[in-house]
Symmetry: C2
Subunit: 187 residues, 2 copies
Protein backbone atom coordinates (compact mmCIF):
# COMPACT_ATOMS: atom_id res chain seq x y z
CA UNK A 1 0.00 0.00 0.00
CA UNK A 2 0.95 3.63 -0.55
CA UNK A 3 1.23 4.50 3.09
CA UNK A 4 3.57 1.61 3.68
CA UNK A 5 5.81 2.75 0.87
CA UNK A 6 6.00 6.24 2.26
CA UNK A 7 6.72 4.95 5.72
CA UNK A 8 9.51 2.75 4.42
CA UNK A 9 11.10 5.63 2.56
CA UNK A 10 10.73 7.89 5.54
CA UNK A 11 12.40 5.37 7.81
CA UNK A 12 15.41 5.24 5.53
CA UNK A 13 15.71 8.99 5.52
CA UNK A 14 15.12 9.39 9.24
CA UNK A 15 17.82 6.87 9.93
CA UNK A 16 20.25 8.45 7.51
CA UNK A 17 19.77 12.08 8.49
CA UNK A 18 18.26 12.03 11.93
CA UNK A 19 14.80 13.20 12.82
CA UNK A 20 15.39 16.81 11.92
CA UNK A 21 17.93 16.32 9.22
CA UNK A 22 15.27 14.46 7.31
CA UNK A 23 13.39 16.68 4.86
CA UNK A 24 10.08 16.00 3.25
CA UNK A 25 11.81 16.41 -0.10
CA UNK A 26 14.15 13.56 0.59
CA UNK A 27 11.40 11.41 2.01
CA UNK A 28 9.41 12.03 -1.15
CA UNK A 29 12.35 10.95 -3.28
CA UNK A 30 13.12 7.92 -1.19
CA UNK A 31 9.56 6.71 -1.37
CA UNK A 32 9.10 7.54 -5.02
CA UNK A 33 6.34 10.11 -4.69
CA UNK A 34 6.05 13.81 -5.19
CA UNK A 35 6.36 15.90 -2.09
CA UNK A 36 2.75 17.00 -2.15
CA UNK A 37 1.58 13.43 -2.25
CA UNK A 38 2.98 12.83 1.19
CA UNK A 39 0.51 15.37 2.47
CA UNK A 40 -2.27 13.56 0.74
CA UNK A 41 -1.61 10.59 2.98
CA UNK A 42 -0.23 12.22 6.09
CA UNK A 43 -1.11 15.38 7.91
CA UNK A 44 2.45 16.43 8.62
CA UNK A 45 6.02 15.30 8.95
CA UNK A 46 5.44 14.54 12.59
CA UNK A 47 2.47 12.47 11.60
CA UNK A 48 4.74 10.37 9.39
CA UNK A 49 7.12 9.73 12.25
CA UNK A 50 4.31 8.82 14.58
CA UNK A 51 2.91 6.43 12.02
CA UNK A 52 6.24 4.62 11.72
CA UNK A 53 6.47 4.25 15.46
CA UNK A 54 2.89 3.24 16.02
CA UNK A 55 2.99 0.69 13.26
CA UNK A 56 6.25 -0.73 14.57
CA UNK A 57 5.27 -1.05 18.20
CA UNK A 58 1.84 -2.31 17.35
CA UNK A 59 3.28 -5.10 15.25
CA UNK A 60 5.74 -6.10 17.94
CA UNK A 61 2.98 -6.18 20.45
CA UNK A 62 0.65 -8.22 18.30
CA UNK A 63 3.33 -10.76 17.53
CA UNK A 64 3.98 -11.11 21.25
CA UNK A 65 0.44 -11.58 22.40
CA UNK A 66 0.22 -15.28 21.58
CA UNK A 67 3.58 -15.93 23.19
CA UNK A 68 2.44 -14.26 26.37
CA UNK A 69 -0.98 -15.86 26.35
CA UNK A 70 0.48 -19.33 25.93
CA UNK A 71 1.12 -19.77 29.63
CA UNK A 72 4.42 -21.39 30.50
CA UNK A 73 6.90 -20.87 33.27
CA UNK A 74 8.12 -17.28 33.59
CA UNK A 75 11.58 -18.19 32.41
CA UNK A 76 10.31 -20.08 29.37
CA UNK A 77 7.94 -17.30 28.46
CA UNK A 78 10.67 -14.79 28.97
CA UNK A 79 12.97 -16.63 26.61
CA UNK A 80 10.21 -16.90 24.03
CA UNK A 81 9.47 -13.21 24.28
CA UNK A 82 13.07 -12.33 23.62
CA UNK A 83 13.19 -14.72 20.70
CA UNK A 84 10.06 -13.24 19.23
CA UNK A 85 11.42 -9.73 19.52
CA UNK A 86 14.62 -10.81 17.84
CA UNK A 87 12.53 -12.36 15.10
CA UNK A 88 10.72 -9.09 14.55
CA UNK A 89 13.99 -7.26 14.45
CA UNK A 90 15.40 -9.55 11.83
CA UNK A 91 12.34 -9.39 9.63
CA UNK A 92 12.42 -5.63 9.42
CA UNK A 93 16.03 -4.69 9.85
CA UNK A 94 16.66 -1.11 10.73
CA UNK A 95 13.20 -0.48 12.07
CA UNK A 96 13.73 -1.88 15.50
CA UNK A 97 16.88 -0.12 16.39
CA UNK A 98 14.97 2.97 15.44
CA UNK A 99 12.01 2.06 17.61
CA UNK A 100 14.18 1.53 20.62
CA UNK A 101 16.32 4.61 20.21
CA UNK A 102 14.01 7.30 18.91
CA UNK A 103 12.14 7.83 22.15
CA UNK A 104 15.31 9.24 23.62
CA UNK A 105 15.34 11.95 20.97
CA UNK A 106 11.81 13.28 21.10
CA UNK A 107 9.23 14.65 23.49
CA UNK A 108 6.90 11.78 24.15
CA UNK A 109 3.53 13.13 25.04
CA UNK A 110 0.30 11.63 23.87
CA UNK A 111 2.27 9.38 21.59
CA UNK A 112 -0.14 6.61 20.70
CA UNK A 113 2.63 4.02 20.40
CA UNK A 114 3.83 4.71 23.92
CA UNK A 115 1.14 2.45 25.26
CA UNK A 116 2.40 -0.59 23.40
CA UNK A 117 5.96 0.11 24.40
CA UNK A 118 4.88 0.30 28.01
CA UNK A 119 2.90 -2.88 27.79
CA UNK A 120 5.94 -4.69 26.49
CA UNK A 121 8.20 -3.35 29.19
CA UNK A 122 5.76 -4.14 31.91
CA UNK A 123 5.29 -7.68 30.65
CA UNK A 124 9.04 -8.19 30.75
CA UNK A 125 9.33 -6.72 34.21
CA UNK A 126 6.47 -8.91 35.32
CA UNK A 127 8.11 -12.04 33.97
CA UNK A 128 11.33 -11.19 35.74
CA UNK A 129 9.50 -10.63 38.99
CA UNK A 130 7.55 -13.85 38.69
CA UNK A 131 10.67 -15.74 37.80
CA UNK A 132 12.44 -14.45 40.87
CA UNK A 133 9.46 -15.33 43.04
CA UNK A 134 9.20 -18.82 41.64
CA UNK A 135 12.92 -19.31 42.04
CA UNK A 136 13.61 -19.71 38.34
CA UNK A 137 15.74 -16.62 38.43
CA UNK A 138 18.17 -15.88 41.21
CA UNK A 139 17.10 -13.29 43.71
CA UNK A 140 18.19 -10.18 41.87
CA UNK A 141 16.38 -6.90 41.81
CA UNK A 142 14.25 -7.32 38.68
CA UNK A 143 14.74 -3.68 37.75
CA UNK A 144 18.47 -4.10 37.59
CA UNK A 145 18.12 -7.29 35.64
CA UNK A 146 15.83 -5.49 33.24
CA UNK A 147 18.39 -2.81 32.57
CA UNK A 148 21.28 -5.18 32.19
CA UNK A 149 19.33 -7.38 29.85
CA UNK A 150 18.34 -4.35 27.84
CA UNK A 151 21.93 -3.63 27.02
CA UNK A 152 22.81 -7.23 26.34
CA UNK A 153 19.83 -8.03 24.26
CA UNK A 154 20.20 -4.97 22.07
CA UNK A 155 23.75 -6.06 21.57
CA UNK A 156 22.76 -9.53 20.54
CA UNK A 157 20.07 -8.46 18.11
CA UNK A 158 21.19 -5.17 16.68
CA UNK A 159 24.90 -5.02 16.81
CA UNK A 160 25.95 -8.17 15.12
CA UNK A 161 25.22 -8.45 11.45
CA UNK A 162 24.06 -11.98 12.03
CA UNK A 163 21.70 -13.37 9.46
CA UNK A 164 20.62 -16.46 11.36
CA UNK A 165 17.58 -16.19 13.59
CA UNK A 166 18.18 -15.89 17.30
CA UNK A 167 17.51 -19.23 18.92
CA UNK A 168 16.50 -20.15 22.42
CA UNK A 169 20.04 -21.48 22.80
CA UNK A 170 21.31 -17.96 22.20
CA UNK A 171 18.95 -16.47 24.69
CA UNK A 172 19.68 -19.11 27.29
CA UNK A 173 23.36 -18.44 26.82
CA UNK A 174 22.69 -14.79 27.35
CA UNK A 175 20.81 -15.49 30.52
CA UNK A 176 23.44 -17.82 31.82
CA UNK A 177 26.21 -15.42 31.10
CA UNK A 178 24.37 -12.80 33.00
CA UNK A 179 22.68 -14.59 35.80
CA UNK A 180 22.94 -18.05 37.11
CA UNK A 181 19.88 -20.20 36.93
CA UNK A 182 19.76 -21.84 40.36
CA UNK A 183 17.78 -24.80 39.01
CA UNK A 184 20.54 -25.86 36.67
CA UNK A 185 23.95 -26.97 37.75
CA UNK A 186 26.82 -25.61 35.72
CA UNK A 187 30.28 -26.96 35.38
Amino acid sequence: MRKERILAGALQVFKKNGLDGATMDEIANASGFGKATLYYYFKSKEDVLTAILLDGWLKIWESLEPVIANQQSPRKTFVNVLIKIAENAQNRPGLFEFLFNVPKAIKIENQPWKEYQERLYSVIRGLLEDGVKSGEFPNINPNLMFKALGGLFMGLVFMGDREEPVTDKDVEKLLNQLITDPTISHN
Copy 2:
Protein backbone atom coordinates in the same frame (compact mmCIF):
# COMPACT_ATOMS: atom_id res chain seq x y z
CA MET B 1 33.47 32.94 32.38
CA ARG B 2 31.09 34.02 29.63
CA LYS B 3 31.45 30.90 27.57
CA GLU B 4 30.65 28.72 30.53
CA ARG B 5 27.51 30.69 31.23
CA ILE B 6 26.33 30.29 27.68
CA LEU B 7 27.11 26.60 27.71
CA ALA B 8 25.18 26.13 30.92
CA GLY B 9 22.15 27.93 29.54
CA ALA B 10 22.39 26.03 26.31
CA LEU B 11 22.50 22.71 28.13
CA GLN B 12 19.29 23.56 29.96
CA VAL B 13 17.55 24.46 26.74
CA PHE B 14 18.89 21.47 24.82
CA LYS B 15 17.67 19.18 27.53
CA LYS B 16 14.29 20.81 27.74
CA ASN B 17 13.53 21.10 24.04
CA GLY B 18 15.78 18.61 22.34
CA LEU B 19 18.60 19.44 19.99
CA ASP B 20 16.41 20.96 17.33
CA GLY B 21 13.66 22.25 19.51
CA ALA B 22 16.25 24.47 21.13
CA THR B 23 16.41 27.93 19.56
CA MET B 24 19.17 30.44 19.85
CA ASP B 25 16.61 32.87 21.24
CA GLU B 26 15.85 30.64 24.14
CA ILE B 27 19.49 29.86 24.73
CA ALA B 28 20.17 33.57 24.81
CA ASN B 29 17.45 34.07 27.41
CA ALA B 30 18.51 31.13 29.50
CA SER B 31 22.09 32.32 29.63
CA GLY B 32 21.20 35.96 30.15
CA PHE B 33 22.74 37.36 26.98
CA GLY B 34 21.41 38.87 23.80
CA LYS B 35 21.12 36.57 20.87
CA ALA B 36 23.86 38.26 18.91
CA THR B 37 26.25 37.85 21.79
CA LEU B 38 26.14 34.12 21.41
CA TYR B 39 27.67 34.58 18.01
CA TYR B 40 30.39 36.68 19.48
CA TYR B 41 31.54 33.66 21.42
CA PHE B 42 30.49 30.80 19.18
CA LYS B 43 30.47 30.34 15.47
CA SER B 44 27.11 28.65 15.28
CA LYS B 45 24.50 26.71 17.15
CA GLU B 46 26.25 23.50 16.28
CA ASP B 47 29.43 24.96 17.65
CA VAL B 48 27.69 25.52 20.97
CA LEU B 49 26.59 21.92 21.13
CA THR B 50 30.03 20.68 20.25
CA ALA B 51 31.54 22.84 22.95
CA ILE B 52 29.23 21.36 25.59
CA LEU B 53 30.15 17.88 24.54
CA LEU B 54 33.85 18.47 24.23
CA ASP B 55 34.04 20.20 27.56
CA GLY B 56 32.09 17.43 29.23
CA TRP B 57 34.03 14.50 27.83
CA LEU B 58 37.32 16.23 28.33
CA LYS B 59 36.60 16.78 32.00
CA ILE B 60 35.52 13.20 32.51
CA TRP B 61 38.67 12.01 30.87
CA GLU B 62 40.94 14.27 32.85
CA SER B 63 39.38 13.22 36.12
CA LEU B 64 39.90 9.59 35.16
CA GLU B 65 43.54 9.80 34.17
CA PRO B 66 44.95 9.63 37.68
CA VAL B 67 42.66 6.75 38.56
CA ILE B 68 43.84 4.83 35.55
CA ALA B 69 47.48 5.71 36.03
CA ASN B 70 47.43 4.60 39.64
CA GLN B 71 47.99 0.95 38.77
CA GLN B 72 45.99 -1.50 40.78
CA SER B 73 44.29 -4.76 39.94
CA PRO B 74 41.92 -4.54 36.99
CA ARG B 75 38.92 -5.07 39.19
CA LYS B 76 39.97 -2.40 41.69
CA THR B 77 40.74 0.06 38.94
CA PHE B 78 37.49 -0.76 37.28
CA VAL B 79 35.55 -0.05 40.44
CA ASN B 80 37.40 3.21 40.92
CA VAL B 81 36.69 4.26 37.37
CA LEU B 82 33.00 3.71 37.83
CA ILE B 83 33.05 5.59 41.10
CA LYS B 84 34.83 8.48 39.52
CA ILE B 85 32.35 8.65 36.69
CA ALA B 86 29.51 8.62 39.16
CA GLU B 87 31.22 11.44 41.01
CA ASN B 88 31.41 13.48 37.85
CA ALA B 89 27.78 12.81 37.17
CA GLN B 90 26.73 13.98 40.59
CA ASN B 91 28.78 17.14 40.45
CA ARG B 92 27.18 18.30 37.25
CA PRO B 93 23.77 16.78 37.24
CA GLY B 94 22.04 16.78 33.91
CA LEU B 95 25.21 17.08 31.90
CA PHE B 96 26.21 13.46 31.98
CA GLU B 97 22.97 11.93 30.96
CA PHE B 98 23.17 14.32 28.06
CA LEU B 99 26.71 13.29 27.22
CA PHE B 100 25.80 9.65 27.11
CA ASN B 101 22.59 10.01 25.18
CA VAL B 102 23.19 12.76 22.66
CA PRO B 103 25.46 10.75 20.42
CA LYS B 104 22.48 8.64 19.48
CA ALA B 105 20.74 11.69 18.11
CA ILE B 106 23.39 13.27 15.92
CA LYS B 107 25.75 12.51 13.10
CA ILE B 108 29.08 11.97 14.77
CA GLU B 109 31.74 12.81 12.29
CA ASN B 110 34.85 14.69 13.12
CA GLN B 111 33.44 15.38 16.52
CA PRO B 112 36.43 16.35 18.62
CA TRP B 113 34.93 14.89 21.80
CA LYS B 114 34.51 11.51 20.17
CA GLU B 115 38.13 10.74 20.89
CA TYR B 116 37.73 11.09 24.63
CA GLN B 117 34.60 9.05 24.63
CA GLU B 118 36.41 6.32 22.77
CA ARG B 119 39.36 6.42 25.10
CA LEU B 120 37.06 5.94 28.03
CA TYR B 121 35.24 3.05 26.44
CA SER B 122 38.42 1.36 25.41
CA VAL B 123 39.89 1.70 28.88
CA ILE B 124 36.82 0.05 30.33
CA ARG B 125 36.89 -2.73 27.79
CA GLY B 126 40.55 -3.20 28.50
CA LEU B 127 39.98 -3.47 32.22
CA LEU B 128 37.28 -6.04 31.67
CA GLU B 129 39.54 -8.07 29.42
CA ASP B 130 42.43 -7.92 31.82
CA GLY B 131 40.18 -8.81 34.70
CA VAL B 132 38.94 -11.86 32.86
CA LYS B 133 42.49 -12.90 32.00
CA SER B 134 43.70 -12.48 35.55
CA GLY B 135 40.71 -14.39 36.85
CA GLU B 136 39.27 -11.50 38.78
CA PHE B 137 36.22 -11.56 36.60
CA PRO B 138 34.54 -14.75 35.53
CA ASN B 139 35.13 -15.86 32.01
CA ILE B 140 32.49 -13.81 30.28
CA ASN B 141 32.76 -12.17 26.92
CA PRO B 142 33.99 -8.69 27.90
CA ASN B 143 31.88 -7.09 25.23
CA LEU B 144 28.73 -8.50 26.66
CA MET B 145 29.76 -7.52 30.13
CA PHE B 146 30.42 -4.02 28.86
CA LYS B 147 26.94 -3.69 27.47
CA ALA B 148 25.23 -5.13 30.48
CA LEU B 149 27.18 -2.89 32.80
CA GLY B 150 26.33 0.07 30.65
CA GLY B 151 22.66 -0.41 31.31
CA LEU B 152 23.12 -1.11 34.99
CA PHE B 153 25.50 1.66 35.69
CA MET B 154 23.41 4.26 33.95
CA GLY B 155 20.54 3.07 36.08
CA LEU B 156 22.54 3.42 39.24
CA VAL B 157 23.83 6.87 38.52
CA PHE B 158 21.19 8.59 36.47
CA MET B 159 17.86 7.09 37.29
CA GLY B 160 17.69 7.28 41.00
CA ASP B 161 17.46 10.72 42.55
CA ARG B 162 20.08 9.74 45.05
CA GLU B 163 22.01 12.56 46.63
CA GLU B 164 24.69 10.47 48.30
CA PRO B 165 27.84 9.74 46.38
CA VAL B 166 28.20 6.33 44.84
CA THR B 167 30.53 4.25 46.97
CA ASP B 168 32.70 1.30 46.14
CA LYS B 169 30.19 -0.76 48.12
CA ASP B 170 27.55 0.23 45.59
CA VAL B 171 29.73 -0.66 42.67
CA GLU B 172 30.80 -3.95 44.19
CA LYS B 173 27.17 -4.77 44.78
CA LEU B 174 26.49 -3.99 41.18
CA LEU B 175 29.26 -6.26 40.06
CA ASN B 176 28.16 -9.06 42.32
CA GLN B 177 24.60 -8.80 41.25
CA LEU B 178 25.67 -9.04 37.70
CA ILE B 179 28.56 -11.42 37.71
CA THR B 180 29.97 -13.68 40.27
CA ASP B 181 33.46 -12.95 41.41
CA PRO B 182 35.09 -16.37 41.48
CA THR B 183 37.64 -15.26 44.07
CA ILE B 184 34.97 -14.57 46.65
CA SER B 185 32.65 -17.16 48.09
CA HIS B 186 29.07 -16.12 48.49
CA ASN B 187 26.43 -17.59 50.72
